[in-house]
């Protein structure tokens, strides 16, 4: 089976989803082709969720341009797409004179990159802003524009909105080969996938850690990906959510950052070590480094209650720390959004905006559709809903009153909605990313069997066919005794 589109975007990470959303406003047929069975299963999944402000990247780099702009755009994106975004501001804590000099350099960077309202502050102001910040901190770079999001939610929201505007989402469709015809062809690229071929006129490479392979398959730029792995730890919820606190950065990463999350947990993110491509293991040494690093910033942090530790690889292009966004110099019609490592989440809306601009500049005709809907109606979040809304929901359907996940207060109806939305959840983890069932402190010990039963019912399959995540991740073998 072959389907033809104007544009195919390879990769449904936060970058691909944001680009799909940006381009969905134009009169074009678009398909997002994803190797995994769900959205945001690569670097976007293993992410601290910080919307960095943009004082880090060296002025003049692509990163510098899209980071600050992306951070700025998050307000509008959050409003239109109905995802949670907290613009709390952040501090980079300095402990000595050397750090202070570094903070000043960061401030200068930030000024050059257009980051607003940066200021170097002293201990008194530090503790006014975040009383739990280390008393040893002598100075800090205060950056009011920093914030945080749930990175899955951003990617899912962007793609839901894109799909609502006619974008096609193909999951479990790893690109195995790319055929490129002459440049005059209306559908010059043919992508071969196990679920069918996709033909398109323009190809956008947003394949994250697979970007080098896609570029290679298309006969475009040759580059290598480096798997700069990071471990991340999520701690239990606290009564008051922490402001993001950064140490002075190292040459390769921003160091171990402590931050609150939109759901009230604390996240410690992230280590940085080059490891075998595809290695998503956590390491005892990394987890210890995170907990130790975090306590330097927040000495009273209770690091006993780890809810989850996970790891992922930053898609770094060997030889550069920068993003590669633009039309391929070798294969016209192929547009690259590659090397989107940190700050990929913060930059995503601006990368999408820049991709639109690049396409326009290279002569792609973009005509706005009259019926484009920028608004995505967020699903009801029962736990956060006001009491009156909770009552309304239960009245509309008793399944809203049937709590399945006790830690995060997720009722059955919310899980069903997560499965039925487009594109919906097809796995236990997919349900978790959409509505938080199983994301809490018991890590699905109490609710997993019930989520499996709901998935089996909704997807019309046997519990033994229900997956934790992607293909092969079966949870139960089948019935124990012959009859069920």
């Amino acid at each position: 089976m072959t389907e033809t589109f104007d544009i195919a975007i390879v990769g449904a990470g936060i970058t691909g989803c944001a680009i799909a959303r940006q381009l969905a406003r134009f009169d074009l047929s678009i398909c997002v082709v994803e190797a995994a069975n769900d959205i945001a299963l690569g670097a976007s999944k293993a992410n601290g969720g910080l919307v960095h402000a943009g004082y880090d990247p060296a002025p003049g780099t692509v990163k510098a341009q899209v980071n600050a702009r992306g951070c700025e755009l998050y307000g509008t994106w959050a409003q239109e797409l109905g995802f949670l975004f907290c613009r709390t501001g952040s501090m980079v804590l300095g402990f000595n004179d050397e750090d202070r000099a570094h903070l000043e350099k960061l401030r200068q960077n930030g000024l050059a990159n257009g980051v607003p309202q940066l200021a170097i502050i002293g201990p008194e102001r530090i503790h006014e802003l975040e009383p739990r910040a280390s008393a040893q901190a002598a100075c800090a770079l205060w950056c009011p524009s920093t914030g945080y999001v749930d990175p899955f939610e951003v990617a899912i929201a962007a793609l839901e909105n894109a799909v609502d505007n006619g974008v096609r989402f193909m999951r479990s469709a790893p690109v195995e080969a790319i055929e490129v015809a002459g440049s005059g062809d209306d559908a010059r690229f043919t992508l071969a996938t196990p679920v069918g071929d996709v033909r398109c006129r323009y190809l956008i490479n947003a394949a994250g850690n697979g970007a080098a392979d896609i570029s290679h398959m298309a006969g475009a730029e040759e580059f290598q990906m480096v798997w700069r792995q990071g471990n991340i730890v999520v701690l239990d919820k606290e009564p008051r959510t922490l402001m993001p606190l950064y140490p002075v950065p190292t040459p390769v990463s921003k160091g171990v950052i402590v931050t609150g999350t939109v759901h009230g947990n604390t996240v410690i993110t992230a280590t940085a070590a080059v490891r075998e491509p595809g290695d998503t293991q956590t390491y005892a040494s990394d987890v210890n480094a995170l907990l130790t690093g975090a306590r330097k910033l927040v000495p009273d942090l209770d690091t006993r209650h780890v809810v989850r530790a996970f790891a992922g690889g930053r898609p770094v292009i060997q030889g550069t720390n920068d993003f590669f966004i633009g039309q391929s110099a070798v294969v016209p019609g192929l547009f690259q959004a590659a090397g989107i490592q940190s700050p990929g989440v913060a930059s995503a809306p601006a990368i999408a905006e820049r991709m639109e601009l690049v396409m326009r500049e290279t002569g792609v005709e973009l005509h706005e559709r009259a019926d484009w809907n920028p608004i995505r109606r967020a699903p009801d979040d029962f736990d956060r809903a006001p009491l009156t809304r909770k009552e309304e929901l239960i009245e509309s359907d008793p399944a809203w009153g049937q709590i399945v996940c006790r830690c995060e207060t997720v009722p059955e109806a919310e899980i069903v909605a997560a499965i039925r939305r487009q594109p919906g959840a097809v796995s236990v983890e997919g349900v978790k990313r959409r509505c938080r069932a199983g994301m809490g402190r018991c890590q699905s010990g109490f609710c997993q069997s019930r989520v499996v039963a709901i998935l089996a019912r909704e997807l019309g399959c046997d519990p033994s066919e229900v997956l934790l995540e992607d293909a092969g991740s079966w949870l139960v073998e089948g019935p124990l005794k012959g009859v069920r």
């Binding site: 999520v234 909770k390 239960i394 049937q402 073998e477």
Partner: protein
């Protein structure tokens, strides 16, 4: 064997209304909640039980092994049978049942109520329990509230097992639910980490269901479960128990393919070079239980960091007047029978508080109780009456010979017999009134329960 029937209790389900008033509201319908509710009812209180599942019985519903009731009923029962006896008793009363109901908050009337606590227990602040169920939102008021929410299992993340995150890593209780309630087979080849009672029982259960158990691995140099379970569940089935060994890596991207195990040193750190790969498709974790106190904390109840349960007095009353706690939400018990006994005391005390028939609002003493030596905790943490008080504790490591000593300042008030102690057993040590009085006479504000190993002859 008593079959558990889900419809058996429907007749007691209360139609949802906006607010209903009770003397005692019990949160949790497991063994603790049922025993507390029955005791409060017996004392003449109007009682409600709020249970988040569709059935009473709590975790006992999936504990189909025997070993329950030996002390309470002088008879060996399975978990569901033990639970059914209480369910039948509850059904025979007018205790109101709110099933499928999740408590979302407990508000104590202290701040808003015009009536003062000083006027006596009869007019004490009223607690409001807000709950939701498929019929809607509902508020229950109670002069007393009994917290009986039980505990949850520690997870892989809490003990920080490194490696990948495939399907096939289950807490032992979740696997127990899949097997005993859902009739689903979680895998074919299992490794069990942790020799707590649930881990031991699941080793036997898996074996009986045709799941091969490669071994039980235990971080500590001794088994953590009851002696009888090591014998009945491992020894009898030839399942090896590897002490001072832990899982140091989970292997497999989509589904567990193997685990790496390593021996640990005296400081429980893995010893490099001792790693061994054990092929399996399932890893069961029985690595400890944690009282589920999120509601308690939100209600202003102070917790003891040692038990992770509430700090209570000898009547099992928490620091918030009128809120009581019992069962595994207070401290993790060894036997359901002990949960029952403790919860009956809590229920009776809650009723006495609610009905104003208690000993009176003015405490005649104020002593804190602290553990020392190898005692991991001491409960109750506060003593507010000169009366016979049962002190519960567990030791942190097994010893062949040790004695309990009760101290106030430098003075030794009481000593127990020299005997062996094991961490798997929840110990009980009675404190006579005259000992408490002696501590008060000495002007002490604290009693210390110390368990001290003695040199063997």
């Amino acid at each position: 064997m008593a079959e558990f029937k889900s419809s058996a209790i429907d007749c007691n389900v209360v139609e949802a209304v906006q607010t209903q008033a009770f003397d005692v509201v019990v949160i949790g319908g497991g063994p603790a909640g049922m025993a507390a509710a029955l005791a409060a009812h017996k004392a003449g209180a109007r009682v409600a039980i709020v249970e988040r599942e569709q059935h009473l019985g709590g975790i006992l519903r999936q504990c189909i092994h025997p070993g329950f009731g030996l002390s309470h009923f002088k008879q060996e029962l399975t978990g569901p049978e033990y639970a059914q006896r209480f369910i039948d008793q509850v059904r025979a009363t007018d205790i109101a049942l709110f099933l499928d109901s999740m408590v979302i908050g407990i508000d104590s009337g202290e701040d808003t109520g015009a009536s003062s606590v000083d006027e006596g227990a009869g007019t004490a602040a009223v607690h409001t329990v807000t709950l939701m169920n498929p019929s809607g939102m509902l508020q229950l008021t109670g002069r007393a509230v009994v917290l009986a929410m039980g505990c949850r299992e520690r997870t892989r993340s809490e003990i920080k097992i490194p490696g990948s995150r495939p399907a096939g890593v289950f807490t032992a209780g979740l696997a127990q639910r899949y097997i005993n309630i859902e009739n689903l087979k979680p895998g074919s080849r299992a490794v069990i980490l942790g020799s707590g009672d649930i881990g031991l029982i699941m080793a036997r259960r898996c074996t009986l269901e045709g799941i091969s158990v490669e071994g039980v691995y235990e971080l500590m140099p001794y088994a953590n479960g009851l002696r009888r379970n090591v014998k009945n569940c491992l020894d009898d089935f030839g399942i090896p128990l590897h002490l001072s060994t832990t899982v140091t890596r989970v292997i497999g991207h989509d589904r567990v393919e193997a685990v790496e195990v390593s021996q640990v040193d005296e400081r429980l750190a893995p010893i490099p070079g001792t790693e061994r790969i054990v092929p399996c498709d399932t890893l069961l974790l029985s690595v400890g239980l944690i009282p589920e106190n999120e509601l308690s904390v939100a209600a202003g109840v102070e917790l003891d960091p040692r038990t992770r349960g509430a700090v209570v007095d000898q009547c099992l009353q928490t620091g918030v007047p009128g809120i009581f706690a019992c069962g595994n939400v207070l401290h993790v018990h060894d036997l359901a029978d002990n949960v029952t006994a403790e919860s009956e005391r809590a229920g009776a005390a809650a009723a006495a508080y609610a009905l104003g028939t208690g000993a009176g609002a003015v405490p005649d003493c104020e002593l804190s109780v602290s553990p020392a030596g190898i005692a991991g905790y001491a409960l109750p943490g506060r003593i507010t009456a000169v009366a016979l008080t049962k002190l519960n504790f567990r030791v942190r490591r097994p010893v062949n010979a040790a004695r309990v000593r009760i101290l106030a300042g430098d003075e030794e008030l009481l000593t127990g017999k020299v005997r062996p102690f094991k961490p798997s057993v929840m110990e009980s040590f009675p404190l006579p009134p005259k000992v408490i009085q002696r501590a008060l006479d000495l002007g002490a504000s604290e009693i210390v329960l110390s368990v001290d190993p003695v040199e063997e002859e």
